[in-house]
């Protein structure tokens, strides 16, 4: 068995906020018909959560489910369990129109932590999203463009944000976030 490495291999940066590799996280892409009872049951079985509403996500520890589009979900599971979880989903959804794939190793996972206002500000510098707590509350998944690449972002807790992007652009996303989190680059747009 090869030794699994996260895309950024533990990189860390301490500036306006802390930018760090969030480590290995099991991620599963699931596409299908949300109205299908079999799919709803399979998601509940795999993550312990109900199907999320539009743009919502539910997360407990490193297990959760996020709404990606009207027919796509991102399931978060512990890294080591991803393969078994995919096999379980395939078995549960046999005969239903669906697609399920383990994408854990295709992604880079970045954590931002610090004062809530500054974390929001650092993201707001590179995404075309209103990062105000009213528009980007915790428990909301937002897929958008981070500088020049596609990314999914969410607020995990006050002062804790997560960024997911393709592994091939992981270093780029990390470098961009470190640049906009440079010390003394604070604007103070959001209240901390």
């Amino acid at each position: 068995m090869s030794n699994a490495l996260s895309a950024l291999q533990g990189a860390k940066f301490d500036g306006l906020v802390k930018v760090a590799d969030a480590g290995l996280q099991g991620m599963i892409t699931l596409r299908g018909d949300f109205a299908d009872a079999k799919l709803q049951a399979a998601v509940k079985e795999a993550t312990g959560h109900d199907l999320p509403q539009q743009r919502a996500m539910a997360l407990q520890g490193d297990t959760g489910v996020a709404w990606m589009s009207p027919d796509e979900l991102l399931l978060l599971v512990p890294y080591a369990e991803a393969h078994a979880c995919v096999a379980g989903l395939r078995a549960a959804l046999a005969g239903t129109h669906h697609m399920v794939e383990n994408v854990s190793d295709a992604r880079a996972f970045i954590a931002l932590s610090g004062a809530d206002g500054l974390v929001r500000e650092v993201l707001a510098k590179v995404v075309p999203v209103d990062m105000d707590p009213q528009h980007m509350p915790e428990g909301q998944m937002r897929r958008t463009k981070l500088a020049q690449v596609a990314a999914a972002i969410w607020m995990q807790a006050p002062g804790e944000a997560r960024v997911v992007c393709f592994r091939s652009v992981g270093t780029y996303a990390y470098d961009v976030l470190c640049t906009v989190a440079a010390p003394n680059s604070g604007v103070g747009f959001y209240a901390s």
Binding site: R55, S69, P70, E72, R142, R143
Partner: protein, 109 residues
């Protein structure tokens, strides 16, 4: 800057998140069509100064196609609606009529 409401995500997506897909409501003419119809389908496009209907894709978001009615002159957006629609829905037509009385675009008005 153009900001369009994605009918699938429910977010106000910035232009940089979107990919433009050209004119909306094109009717395909394929095998069996006359040369004029086929030429019109392939090449003839509206280029209005004013009300226009376009296809857009939320490329960096949900990845879905949707249609938008907007003014090319002022960038005012009258409404967006799912791509599985063969003609502008009534509420979008009403929104345009309220701002641009007597508007006309191809066979719609």
């Amino acid at each position: 800057m153009l900001t369009l409401h994605c009918p699938y995500c429910g977010v106000h997506a910035d232009e940089t998140e979107l990919a433009s897909g050209g004119e909306a409501h094109l009717k395909r003419f394929g095998p069996g069509a006359s040369d004029e119809e086929f030429e019109g389908y392939l090449f003839m496009r509206e280029n209005p100064k004013g009300v226009h209907f376009e296809r857009w894709r939320h490329a960096y978001g949900c990845g879905k196609w949707f249609l938008a009615a907007r003014c090319t002159n002022t960038l005012e957006v009258f409404g967006t609606y799912p791509a599985q629609t063969t003609e502008p829905p009534q509420h979008v037509r009403d929104a345009i009529s309220a701002k641009r009385p007597g508007w006309k675009w191809r066979e719609f008005s």
